[in-house]
Amino acid sequence: MKKNKTYIALTGAMLPFLTGCGIVRITVLSVAAVIGLAGYAVYKTGEGAVTGVKKFVSKTGQVASGTSKAAGTILFFKGNFKTEYPYGIRFVWISVNTACSNAMFTDIKGSVDALSGSLTAKTRTGTEIKISLKNVESNLTKASIRYGVKGNMAESEKINNFIVSELKLMQIQAVQSHSTTK
């Protein structure tokens, strides 16, 4: 009788392992541990890496946590290199123009207003570069860079780096100018 019960118990405990059901398996292991069956371990890796933090997400899906904004998001899709600059559109527009001039691109044309901007330029080899800007907030501008007809991530990244360097330089100059005026 005793042997039969033991056999049933062990068969039952093995079932989740045979069926490959993770939830049941973990539950069985946990229960087994609780009731004193030593030797089992629940694999818990990843719990520290993936954490529930619902409170940080607003209804619109925008993440309110400051940590996620510490690094800007860059997207590359269908040849478009999309990024965000933490500056107003006017500031970004000047930087984009200066960056294109400094890069010795030719045929630099475009227009801007308080809401959006668009610029085209050509490389020495005649490849067209298109840069679009969109005002998101007073201190946030979305940008899309496209190199050539099909787009090119490596070249777009270089152009982005030119713009970022120019933005930084302009910010330093603005701060210096402000402190001199004071």
Partner: protein, 197 residues
């Protein structure tokens, strides 16, 4: 004796649960075998649609998303080359074929290093690629540490078929000449669970 009775009782309950539910667990966590240059790795399969055809299907590149602080000086284009090289190797080994225009599946990926990605942000970033709301359970996940998320999207229907991710702490001093090897291993550890763990 009491313990054995309890085990038997719980086992029967488990049996009934499995029989009724059919064990419909969607999300799974796995421990990678060997990941050079990555510490504390874990693989998470977040979305799995049943019956994804793989053999003789075609794949192309979808969205690439990066969240890497500038201070690390990582070239995104180089990283993209590494990841797409690894993905091509893994997917072709499964019988898929690369097709740049109008493939059956778009393969997208997101990478964060020294930053976090929330699942909602990822889904929002994919808006152009996916129609309507994503048909998977929204969880409250922040992908922390270093992470690479790989998505398989059905191009015509614009639906997310499969999502897998590897989370780990990358070794910042890992030699340049071994970065492709590290990337290959990480991609292999995720893709080995595609289309089904």
């Amino acid at each position: 004796m009491k313990h054995l009775k309890l085990i038997a009782f719980i086992s029967i309950l488990m049996f009934i649960t499995v029989a009724i539910s059919g064990c419909s667990q969607k999300k799974s966590v796995f421990k990678p075998d060997n990941t050079p240059g990555l510490t504390q790795p874990s693989v998470h399969v977040q979305v799995i649609k049943e019956g994804i055809p793989v053999k003789e299907t075609t794949f192309g590149w979808g969205m690439s998303m990066f969240r890497i602080p500038e201070k690390y000086g990582i070239s995104l284009a180089t990283l993209n080359t590494r990841i797409t090289t690894s993905l091509t190797k893994e997917l072709t080994a499964k019988g898929m074929r690369f097709k740049a225009d109008a493939p059956d599946y778009y393969i997208s990926y997101a990478v964060a290093f020294g930053a976090e990605i929330h699942e909602v942000e990822l889904d929002n970033a994919y808006r152009d690629l996916l129609k309507g709301h994503l048909e998977h359970e929204q969880s409250d996940l922040f992908y922390k540490q270093g992470v690479m998320i790989i998505d398989v999207v059905e191009r015509k229907e614009k639906t997310l078929l499969w999502r897998g991710a590897i989370l780990a702490q990358p070794d910042k001093n890992w030699p340049e000449e071994r970065k492709q090897e590290r990337c290959d291993t990480a991609v292999h550890e995720v893709i080995k669970y595609f289309p089904k763990p």
